[in-house]
Structures are given as structure tokens and as C-alpha cells.
Symmetry: C2
Subunit: 557 residues, 2 copies
């Protein structure tokens, strides 16, 4: 494949028409620079899959050209796929200090830390790969140390925003660098890749600082323990929980592996300000009165194995929620998680807790980390791009982003809504839809990656909806006569004790089907199997309106 004999190529390997597993690359001649490598969680139609990461076939095919991975920030949908990438292609990784700290946790878990080539960058850094020059600029999001990227190439400037909002009063980290963005825009941007998460949401996303004020109010009013659940990776919000605990004289307990990991790394690297003696171990909490305890925990999405869920069902070994305690859900539910979270809230009420929850910003305990429509327009106005590729969003978000771009003067045909695997080519100053590159989902299942194919998933779905019936028949090698009664075994189909009659009927039908075959037919295993499948399947459907998987096994002795 030689997609870039001419011009500059910009392609998505993940992150468009989906939320999650962001991965893009730009290529000029023989140099490829990759941006981000995220993961996402599977939906329920992918049973048994643990994680989804981008398909990197194109990079493997062109590995002698791949110069670097630049990572915009430390969230899972931007870093979660890195271990699986580096296992196959150990390329140099460039990221800011905090982002690199979070990447290191992952690499350590995968035993990849020693060999990894990690480089710290900042808003003042520059890097070069062939004729591609990259510089960076500071941007706001719900985690500190986020970078946007400005690539200068012989075909013009390409800007990737990373995830951003314009928080003019950020909790920590630098202000959004409007001056640098204005400067980049003034010098001319050929293509802007801008995130689209909140392209459907009117207005301007409120400052994270607003959440801090509501948290403090709730801490002051609480007469007993206070529990706050949020994403560990929302480091800015974690800081505000810490501040509220300090302000109200409470010790702070951390619960949940990712919370402990992220807080430790952020603290070590100077991104969280935590007074000495604030943090205590869960088992120490008994020593303090209830109004001197705050707990910061994972599980804000109602994930069944996370700390909040275990607290809510009184299954946490070290800490208990008591009647009158306050529980704050300081996060919005990600679509698909509503049911789990509602279940956790119900359980918290059953325990007698005062629960502060609510969709979106209703309670003031959550604001988005992503810019709304006016902020996307502000970015477009600053960058004045000739072309826009909306990224980081499902189709309707990309589509709304296009409407926003039109409203600030970008012509509709200068906006490329692409699929994963689509490349946009810039050549002689003009952009056009370029060649396709391989892209898709790689499934991580157990410790393996990639070996779960569509057939396996189809089987799992089939098994899970109607169960299976196994039929074992034993034939003599020589005369093809049946040597034993056929065995019929079911799993996940019907409860056998209550369906004895049905199972007996199936057994009889297997027997009569086998007896109905002549010797010639019995010599063809595939014929036996197909006939059994057809007869038994038809019978079961007529009796139960179900279609279990039917698996005939023929043994010759």
C-alpha cells in the first residue's frame, strides 16, 4: 500500500463515529506520527470482551515509517490502548509529565516499562519527524497537563485540539493559552482536527470551579461521613474534594484501585496539593468521629465491582455507610450506565444515606470536561482553519460540529466527516478524501488480543440467548451401527428437572432419526449432523419457540 506518494495524509484509526479509543495519524512521505492510542469498553452485544483497542494493521505494515506516538492527555480513551500498541510496535512515546505518569502505571502492569522509550514534553517543546514539525499548546480539560498539537508540514499546518474546554478559571494547571492559539490561527491553519463530544450542547460549559463551591456547601452541611464518587482520572475534581475536606477539617480515605493509583502519581508529580496527614487508611477511619471523615471513591457509573457499588450493598470490608451519611455522585452517567447507577442509588437510600445525585449539572456536582457549542465555535474562530475534520464523537456529534463550523464561516464542503480508516489527503493546498487504511476494533479478552473473531461472538450471543443442546452418538467403525444410546445434554436451554418430558421427546427423536438413516447415510458424518440438527431444531422450535444451538457429535469406535 502506498497511500502517500504525494501530499499529506491525515487519518483516523479510532475515535470517529464513537466515543472512545481515539487514535489518529498524520503521514508525510516516509514519516508517520501517531496521535493518542485509547481504549473503550465493550457494549453488551460483545459478551465476554474486556476491552476494545484500535486495529493497528496499517502501522504494523508501515512500521519502518512510524516515528512517534504523541499523547494529548492521560484519559483512558487516549492512553488505554498504549500497552497493546507497544507490545507490537515499540515506538517512542511523547507526552506531558502527568500523562506520562499515568501511562507508566499501565506499562508497569504489562511489564513494558523497562523497554519503553518515554519522552516528556510541554507547551514549550518541539519535536521533528522528517519534514513534520510538532509544537504544542496548553488546553483545559478535566485533567491537568493537556496539550493540543500544531504540526507544521510542507503542505501546511495541521492542528489537533485534544480534548478541551475553555475554563477561564481553572482549578489547577495553566489557563487555556488563547494567545498561542490566536497566533497559530493568524499564521494559517490548513486542517483543524477538533473534538466534538459536546457539539450537541448549546452554550458554554461552566467552570470546574463551580463544582468546588457545591462540594464545599455539602461538606459543611453534612453532620456525619461524606462519600464522594467521581472518576479517578478527573484530577481537577479530585483536587476540589481534597480542598473541601481540608476546609471542613475532615480526614480523607481513598477507595478503589484506580483512585489510589491516580492520586499517588498526581501527587508525586506535583499535580495534586495534599497536606501531610490528610490521607488516612480505610481501617484508620474508625478512630475519628463521623464528622471528621470524608471518603473519595470510584464507582460513579455504578460499575458493579467498584468501591461505591460495594459500599452501597454493604460489601466493603473496611468502611460502612451509616444512616445519615452523605453520598455525592460527582459525575454524569455515561449513556448505557444509567441503570447500574440507579441501582446503586437505590441501595444507598436503603442504607439511610442522604444521596446527592442527578443528571448532568442539576445538582451542581458535575460539569463536563468538554467544551459546548460556543467553545467549539471559539476554537474555530481562533484557528480559522481552511478545513475541519471533526473528531472524538458519534456521528450526530460530528454532524452538529459541521453545522457549527458552517455558522462561523467554514464552507460545508471543507468539513470532512470521516469514518475510522478514512484518510484525508492534502495535496497542492487542496484537501480531498484519500485512500482507505485498515481500521477497526481489536478485542482484548482475558490476556489475549485479537483472537476473538466474529464467529466466536456470534456463538456467544447465540448461547446466551437460547442455550445449547449437545447430542452424542456412538457408531461402530465397521458397520456404522449405534453402540450406545445417544446422549442428550443441555446447558442454558431449559431447566431440566421441569422439562423432563421435553428432554425425553428429544432423546426419542434422536434415536428415531438415527434409526431412519441407512448405512450409507451413516458413513457421512456431515449428513448425520445436518439431519440431526434439522430434525431436532424443528422439533424444539415447534415446542418452545426457541432456537438453542444444536451440536451433534459423532464418535466412531
Amino acid at each position: 500500500m502506498k497511500p502517500t506518494e504525494h501530499g499529506l495524509l491525515i487519518a483516523a484509526l479510532g475515535g470517529v463515529n464513537e466515543i472512545g479509543k481515539n487514535m489518529y495519524f498524520i503521514q508525510y512521505k516516509d514519516d508517520i506520527v501517531v496521535i493518542d492510542c485509547g481504549s473503550k469498553f465493550p457494549t453488551e452485544n460483545l459478551p465476554g470482551i474486556d476491552l476494545i483497542v484500535p486495529d493497528i494493521a496499517y502501522l504494523l505494515e508501515n512500521q519502518e515509517k512510524v516515528r512517534a506516538l504523541i499523547v494529548t492527555h492521560g484519559h483512558e480513551d487516549h492512553i488505554g490502548g498504549i500497552p497493546y500498541l507497544l507490545k507490537q510496535l515499540n515506538l517512542p512515546v511523547y507526552a506531558s509529565k502527568l500523562t506520562l505518569g499515568l501511562i507508566k502505571i499501565k506499562l508497569k502492569e504489562h511489564g513494558l516499562l523497562r523497554e519503553a522509550q518515554l519522552h516528556t514534553i510541554s507547551a514549550d517543546s518541539a519535536m521533528q519527524a522528517g519534514e513534520i514539525n510538532a509544537t504544542f499548546f496548553s488546553i483545559n480539560h478535566s485533567i491537568p497537563d493537556c496539550l493540543g498539537i500544531c504540526f507544521q508540514t510542507p503542505e501546511g499546518t495541521v492542528v489537533h485540539t485534544g480534548d478541551f474546554k475553555f475554563d477561564m478559571s481553572p482549578v489547577s494547571g495553566p489557563y487555556p493559552d488563547l494567545h498561542r492559539m490566536a497566533e497559530i490561527g493568524k499564521q494559517g491553519v490548513k486542517v483543524l482536527l477538533s473534538e466534538s463530544t459536546n457539539a450537541e450542547r448549546p452554550g458554554f460549559t461552566p467552570s470546574e470551579r463551580q463544582v468546588g463551591e457545591h462540594l464545599l456547601d455539602a461538606f459543611i452541611r453534612a453532620k456525619q461521613q461524606v462519600f464522594v464518587s467521581t472518576f479517578a482520572s478527573n484530577v481537577n475534581r479530585v483536587q476540589q474534594v481534597i480542598d473541601a475536606a481540608v476546609e471542613t477539617g475532615r480526614k480523607l480515605v481513598l477507595l478503589g484501585r484506580s483512585m489510589v493509583n491516580v492520586v499517588n502519581v498526581s501527587m508525586e508529580l506535583g499535580y495534586l496539593q495534599i497536606p501531610d496527614g490528610l490521607l488516612i487508611e480505610p481501617e484508620e477511619s474508625e478512630r475519628y468521629p463521623a464528622d471528621q471523615i470524608a471518603v473519595l471513591c470510584t464507582g460513579s457509573q455504578g460499575e458493579p465491582m467498584a468501591a461505591l457499588s460495594r459500599l452501597a450493598s454493604s460489601k466493603h470490608p473496611k468502611i460502612e455507610i451509616l444512616p445519615g451519611d452523605t453520598v455525592i455522585i460527582a459525575a454524569g452517567p455515561i449513556p448505557g450506565n444509567e441503570r447500574n447507577l440507579a441501582h446503586v442509588i437505590d441501595n444507598l437510600y436503603v442504607l439511610g444515606a442522604k444521596v446527592i445525585y442527578g443528571s448532568g449539572s442539576a445538582t451542581g456536582m458535575h460539569v463536563s470536561g468538554h467544551g459546548s457549542q460556543e467553545e467549539l465555535k471559539l476554537m474555530l474562530t481562533l484557528m480559522k482553519p481552511e478545513y475541519l475534520i471533526p473528531v472524538h464523537g458519534e456521528f450526530r456529534m460530528l454532524y452538529q460540529h459541521r453545522l457549527l463550523a458552517e455558522s462561523v464561516g467554514v464552507p460545508s464542503d471543507h468539513v470532512f466527516i470521516v469514518n475510522n480508516g478514512d484518510a484525508v489527503r492534502i495535496e497542492d493546498g487542496k484537501a480531498s478524501l484519500g485512500p482507505k487504511v485498515p481500521a477497526g476494533n481489536s478485542f482484548v479478552d482475558g490476556i489475549g488480543i485479537g483472537e476473538v473473531g466474529n464467529i466466536v461472538l456470534r456463538d456467544r450471543r447465540h448461547l446466551s440467548s437460547d442455550g445449547m443442546i449437545i447430542i452424542v452418538t456412538t457408531l461402530s467403525k465397521s458397520e456404522k451401527t449405534m453402540l450406545a444410546d445417544p446422549e442428550v445434554i443441555s446447558r442454558g436451554f431449559v431447566f431440566v428437572r421441569e422439562s423432563e418430558e421435553l428432554m425425553n421427546q428429544i432423546r426419542e427423536l434422536v434415536l428415531s432419526t438415527m434409526n431412519g438413516l441407512n448405512e450409507a447415510e451413516r458413513s457421512q458424518w456431515s449428513d448425520i449432523k445436518q439431519t440431526l440438527k434439522d430434525n431436532i431444531g424443528r422439533f424444539i422450535y415447534s415446542q418452545t419457540k426457541k432456537r438453542p444451538m444444536i451440536l451433534p457429535i459423532v464418535i466412531e469406535v
Copy 2:
């Protein structure tokens, strides 16, 4: 079981701590009257289950006492379980004209219509069962012909609200009968059972009429075909779509089996006003220009098999959505359906449609059919109940309903938050938590009911997450020697072609395990099976970190 030797019993068989499958009963001495019999859809942790209906063991045990089923209105969560109930207990059914019409559709599908004992009631009716007297009152909801129930018993008056809002300008059907409710309240209500769906929502739910105005605006602006998707059972909204079509000179196509059924029944019974010639068949639509066509379809929740989903993926055989068409989602997503619906909206945008959607009332195209906090307080103020049993809601909704009751003067310990199966006993004027009755979920799977037990569901979940491995070994009856190489077959585990080595290793381990057993061990099938399960399971986990179901089968010949 003799739970009512004394006093009056009020119990929930379904509908509390859940949304769905409402079913309650009241019992005085030897007379039981049942209220509603709904169904609900399973969540994804119940693979293969089609429907959930209430467990009616208590009614079957006491069938000589069960006098009647009264149905408050025609929604699935109040009528969906009726066929499964009547199959086991053919009791007389009392409901309003429209409600009965919708019940008849179900009974016909189940072949139960001929034997059913159906009685039409209205706000003016009265019925009697032993010492229980029932009268009814008109109430508003998103479907016409809804009734609240007022039971007079020797232990006092018990009121069941049914589902309600206070829509003072209803689209069709009578106004909420405030005067009758005031009268009931004035005469004294011992216990109120009131619905809690929107107990978390502040304020007053807007009138359904507001949706009509937004629909008409959108119809007027649309230059091509207009598609509206809503619940078929939201008959009031259906009327407003009809009105908008009439007003803008469009013909109306109905898509979706339940839409056609509900519209036909409602029209026949006089609950929908449809001018002659308005409705056309899907295939006739080609004869009209695009701006004279409107389509009313099912699928507002993104259900993959419903009309809207098929239209969005261009799989509908008779009608096509073209670029520039308008699609209106006139419904709010039920928690858990957000992902499916988002996927449908994405597909509609890909087709070039203009999509009007949005959560809750953001677009004006949806208002709830359930009263918000101020309306629940209005009901409590009208009825002035001595005791409240909040029903029809998950725990946090029941809990919020209790807080609302307290705010209007009902003492906290006069509010009973109950579980399905809890009974409240009224005796000598005092209410207390009474005996437990059996209650729970009955699963409908295929055409059977109840035969899917927990073991089957556990198996299905296991199969769906990690797949299965079947090991067949053949022994000689006499010497217990192996007569053929063991067969190892996997389904839903790993993609065999890519994992040949692993499968070979498993085969060898089976062989060596079998060879390692002596004759005595081989005579005990259970030993063989357990040893195979242990060895193979351990090996597979060490290699893959997965735990497929392992199913050893021993054949003796």
C-alpha cells in the same frame, strides 16, 4: 397461609422497587380483588428472556377467594401479564372500554378471548366483592380512559390512583375529576396507594397539548416527508400527530405492528378522531408528493427490530427516508435504551434526515405522562390519606414520595415503603406491616413461562462471557480402556483457526489426564469428569485468563 384472619390486607405483587409489572391486591376476609397485571422487559443480565411477569403463587393458592381483576389503564406495565395470569386463573376482568380493547388484542393473540370474562366499567360504575365495594374516578395520563379506584371496606377507604398527571387541558378524554377526588378525600381515606414515577422531578408536568404545538410547527416547516416516532400506547400523542397531519394536508402512514393495532382499536372505540381518507398504506405513499406524507411509527426507544430502526438503516421494505426528510423522536428514552436510540439517530443523520430529538422536554416533542412533585402533593392534599403506600417506582422514587408526603403533613411513620410481597395490614383503624406473601419475577421465554430457572440463567451468562469446551471420551464397558481419541470441541471460546496450538495442548492434556487414571478411577464417571474439569480448567486459565464452561461427557460402549 392465613394472612387475613383479621383486618384488611393490601399487598404488592409487582411494581414497587421497579418500574414495570404492576400488580397489587386487597383482601378482606375471604375476598381478594386484584389491581393490574403488568409485564416488564428484562435487563441484559437475563439473556434470552423475552418478558417478565409477576409471580402469582399467592393468588393460585387462594384462588377460591380471588373475585376480580380491575385494570386501571391500557399500558403494558399494567396489562402485559394478563394473558399469563388468565391462563392459570380465569378470573373476571374489569376495565374501561379502551383498556379492555387493548387487553382483547393480547387475549386474542394467546387464544384466550373466547373464555375470558370481560366487564366494561367507567367512572360511574360500582362493583362489589364480599364486603369490598369499588367505585372509580377519572384521571389523566398519556392514554385515554384511565381510572383511579376507591375501595370502601369495613376497615376504611383505600384509594389506588393508577398512573396520573393533572393535565387541566387534556388532549382527549375527560378532565381530571378534581371534584370527585375532593369528595373522596373529604369522606376520609385510610390508605392511599399513589404512583411515584416522577417523585424525583420538581414542579408540574406540562400539558400534553404543548407537544401538539411543537409537532404542528415542525410539520409546517418540513418541506418533505415527516416521520414521527412515539409509543403506540401514547394514544393522546398519536391523536396530536393525526391532527398535525390533517392541519398540514398530509396523508398518514402507520408503521409497526403495535402502532397499527393500537390505532385500530382506539379508532373503533371512538378514542381517536381520524378523518376518512387520512390513513394510507405504506405502498400508496409513492403516489403523493413528499410534502403530503407523514409517517407515524414505533421504535422511539431505538428497539433494533422496530420500524424506526429499520427505516434508519434503510431496511424497511416499503418506505425510505430521503435526504431532507424530517424525523421527530416524540418520546423520552427509558433508562437503558439511550445507546440504541443514539445509534438510530446516527443512522438517520447518515441518511441526510433532519432529526429532532433530545432528552426530556428539551425539544418540546415530549412531556411525561406522570405527575411531578407538585402533582403528587396535589393528590395527597386532595385525598388527605391517613396512610400512604407509594407505588409504581424504584426505591429512590418511593423514598422521595415519602419526603413529599411529609411536606404536606403525612407523618413519616404513616408512609409504608414496601417490597413486592410485603403486605400492609389495617386492623382496628391502625396500619402495620403484615405478613409476607410470595412474590417475584416469572420469566417468559419462548412460549413457556416459568421453566427458566436461575441455573439456566447462570449457565447462559457463563456461556456468553467465556464460551464452552466439550470433551467427549469413549470407554469400553468391560475394561474401561479408551476406545477412541478424546474429542475436544469449543464454542464461543476462541477462534479455533487462530488457536490451533492451544486446542492441541488441551487435547494432549485430556489424553494424559485419562491415561493417568487407573481402572478404578475410570469406573467412577463423576471422578473422571471432575478430574478433567479441574485439570483442563486450570490449564486454560493459566494460558488465557478465561474460564470457559467445561463439559466432560463420558460414553461407555
